[in-house]
């Protein structure tokens, strides 16, 4: 792995911002106190946690700082939200979600499904969009929770969660959004919405791994997942991860300052990358809702070749991206997101996600654009679906293997 690699996998995780790291260091040394303690060692730390809470509150536009609960990660926030909703409303036995959620949502819903809950997984169209009329028809008194991601991690497609929360609210149904990919990339102003709960994750916005937060609107019925001490007002017991909470606070403040740059500079870089790749390579296309997606994400499906092979070749050139290919995940299935959009498997397996951050440069974009064609053409030379001229699919030599 070259140290001077190009990192285009920021939807997987981001680097810790230097300012964030600096803010954290004292909490490993002299500021080691337990924020619950009454003495000066603890007291100062407690105050720092409160200010971090306000920084997160400002980033997401929460009305009160007490609506922010620190957790260990996005997954914990998601599980807490879902399990709380079913525990607090035992008479309600349905969960509404989408077919393209992150496993942190889907696996919890699958488990509830096994335990007798009805889970409605809303389908998406070929661009990854939801049908709001179908959604509206599903809202009723049996629904304990609607949980819809704000933006998709693979394609960046943004769901109309603000509107969907309004609809849920009118039907008297609790609404949660997994906004792990959205916070810091699109403006979020919760006080003006009907969203009851929102999950966010530190390491997606240049805070460290192992810290997240759950927004819980004041008055929303809640049952903690972790009970114990009185930390986080008894809603998430366990001694606070003080250094990371402080780091998340600083990262939230940075993200707020950079939200315009994300949607101008970073978006510009992403578009340059996307246009460059599309014009330099044949038989590839962008997946997701092009007119409504995260400014940093670009998912390109390269037909007739496989994603892991592409990633390995890119990795050799020092370029880091990710893929919806089955082979990169350890499962045999290609990405559930690609399948839900009906992308044919010869393209779904070759889908590559490039996700940028504030720290990427135009030079990096240009280097990736010029590196990709060689990788693609080399792998196509190996592909049974491809001849020297192009895809074999529409002639007599067409490759149609016996499938096991």
């Amino acid at each position: 792995m070259t140290v001077s690699g190009i990192y285009f996998d920021n939807n997987a995780t981001t680097k810790v911002a230097p300012e964030v790291l600096e803010s954290m260091l004292p909490f490993f040394t002299e500021q080691f106190g337990n924020p619950s303690s009454i003495h000066q060692f603890g007291n100062q730390v407690g105050r720092k946690i409160n200010s971090a809470r306000c920084q997160v509150q400002n980033l997401i536009g929460a009305e009160f700082d007490s609506e922010v609960i620190f957790t260990s990660c996005g997954t914990e926030s998601n599980a807490t939200a879902i399990l709380s909703s079913v525990k607090a409303q035992p008479q309600r036995k349905t969960i509404i979600t989408t077919a393209v959620e992150h496993p942190a949502i889907l696996a919890v819903c699958d488990q509830l499904d096994k335990e007798g809950y009805t889970v409605i997984r809303l389908d998406v169209d070929e661009k990854g969009r939801l049908d709001l009329d179908t959604y509206k028809r599903q809202l009723n008194d049996d629904v304990a929770l609607v949980t819809i991601m704000w933006a998709n991690n693979e394609t960046g497609t943004i769901f109309p969660v603000v509107e969907m929360a309004e609809l849920a609210s009118k039907a008297g149904v609790m609404f949660h959004t997994d906004a792990v990919q959205a916070v810091g990339k699109v403006p979020v102003d919760l006080r003006t919405t009907k969203i009851d709960m929102l999950s966010l994750s530190g390491h997606k916005l240049h805070a460290p791994k192992g810290i997240g937060a759950l927004y819980l609107r004041r008055g929303t019925r809640f049952r903690p997942m972790m009970r114990g001490g009185h930390q986080e007002r008894g809603r998430r017991a366990g001694t606070e991860n003080t250094a990371s909470i402080v780091g998340l606070g600083v990262a939230a403040e940075l993200a707020q300052k950079r939200i315009v740059a994300e949607n101008t500079t970073v978006r510009g870089l992403r578009d340059r990358l996307e246009n460059g790749i599309l014009s330099a390579n044949s038989h590839c296309y962008v997946t997701g809702d092009l007119s409504n997606r995260l400014p940093n994400t670009c998912n390109v499906a390269f037909e007739y070749i496989e994603g892991e092979a592409i990633l390995m070749m890119l990795n050799k050139k020092g370029i880091a991206a990710s893929s919806g290919s089955a082979c990169t995940s350890g499962s045999l299935e290609p990405s559930h997101v690609m399948r839900a959009m009906g992308i044919p498997f010869t393209a779904a397996h070759g889908s590559i996600r490039f996700s940028l951050s504030y720290y990427n440069t135009q030079d990096e974009i240009d280097r990736v654009v010029s590196a990709v064609p060689e990788v693609i053409s080399r792998l196509r030379q190996l592909s049974p679906y491809w001849s020297k001229e192009g895809p074999l699919k529409e002639n007599a030599q067409a490759f149609s293997p016996t499938y096991a």
Binding site: Y304, I305, E306, G307, E308, A309, L311, M312, M313, N315, K316, S325, A326, C327, T328, G330, S331, L332, E333, P334, F345, T346, A348, H349, Q381, L382, S383, P384, Y385, W386, F399, S400, P401, T402, Y403, A404
Partner: protein, 315 residues
């Protein structure tokens, strides 16, 4: 990213025998429906000698699929068709110095392409009988269909049974929840109810100390015993009889076990062949210990001796 061996990486970055062989007289097209990988193997077979003179591949798939294809073509070139057909998917994986368990199906695809190509050359129709499914046990690369079929065929009803018959679940034990789900489903299908053990099943433990290796069945067996008195010769005969009963199972896996010594309640044995270093050795010994206790009607402990211990003891 996967922890690929250097050989896998070498064959991926510099694949051998890429492309279709000109004038090929054997073509095998196979694909794996579940993972989406696909492979075309083209061979030039000498009609006189049936020797594979040239082999070429085209693969749609991941790094290990491409490396497995490349390895396969290298391995079969120059071989007669019947010799080539003896190349197993494990041979392909070995040639590549190992594949991650999740990737073993890539080597299976290579072997299937070869079978399909040979069938094509011989004018036969190749039918695939390999059933692919979700990978359940990552330690031993065991997929769901094998577990389901084995449960059905042998009426298995516990995680321990599944581990004994398929090895699935005999390693790190992280897949036990999934195995329990399969058991629950399969037992329901045959009108039974799956009752999991409240305590953890005793899997691949090394019977080092008496306490740690006593299972509930062993205790029951030793309680049941009426403690008959045997001479030393009778005891050894009975122990040999118990060993003879488990031996065929071990030999089926290319292993063996030998009685070394009996001292009071301790039976010393040596494991040979494939048993050495097998993660299942502990399980095998527990089974053997159980058998010996049933024969003798008393509690004994079976202790395996390593090669070094045997040499030191001059045995």
């Amino acid at each position: 990213m996967w922890d690929y061996s250097e050989t896998v990486k070498e064959h991926f970055y510099n694949p051998r025998n890429v492309g279709a062989v000109e004038d090929a007289n054997a073509i095998g097209d196979v694909g794996s429906l579940s993972c989406g990988d696909a492979l075309r193997l083209t061979l030039k077979v000498n009609p006189e000698t049936e020797v594979i003179e040239e082999a070429g591949f085209q693969t749609f798939g991941c790094g290990s699929a491409i490396a497995s294809s490349s390895a396969l073509t290298e391995m079969i070139k120059g071989k007669k068709l019947d010799e080539a057909l003896e190349v197993s998917n494990q041979d392909i994986a070995d040639y590549l110095e190992g594949l991650p368990p999740e990737k073993m199906h890539c080597s299976v695809m290579g072997r299937e392409a070869l079978q399909a190509a040979v069938a094509n050359y011989r004018g036969e129709v190749w039918k695939d009988d390999h059933e692919e499914g979700a990978l359940i046990c990552k330690c031993f690369a065991i997929e769901e269909p094998l577990i389901v079929d084995t449960i059905k065929a042998n009426k298995l009803s516990s995680v321990q049974d599944v581990a004994n018959y398929t090895k699935a679940g005999a390693g790190c034990s992280a897949c036990h929840e999934k195995i329990e789900e399969i058991l629950d489903r399969e037992l329901k299908a045959r009108g039974e109810i799956f009752v999991p053990n409240a305590v953890r099943p005793d899997l691949a433990k090394e019977p080092r100390t008496v306490d740690a290796s006593i299972t509930s069945e062993m205790l029951a067996a030793s309680k049941k015993a009426t403690k008959p008195k045997f001479t030393l010769v009778q005891r050894i005969q009975k122990i040999e009889k118990a060993i003879a009963e488990v031996r065929p199972t071990l030999q089926a896996d290319r292993g063996d076990v030998k009685l070394i010594d009996v001292q009071d309640k301790t039976v010393f044995v040596s494991l040979t062949g494939a048993c050495v270093g097998c993660q299942m050795a502990g399980l095998t010994l527990n089974g053997l210990q159980q058998k010996i206790m049933e024969e003798l009607g008393e509690f004994v402990q079976v202790v395996p001796l390593s090669k070094r211990q045997l040499e030191e003891a001059g045995l």
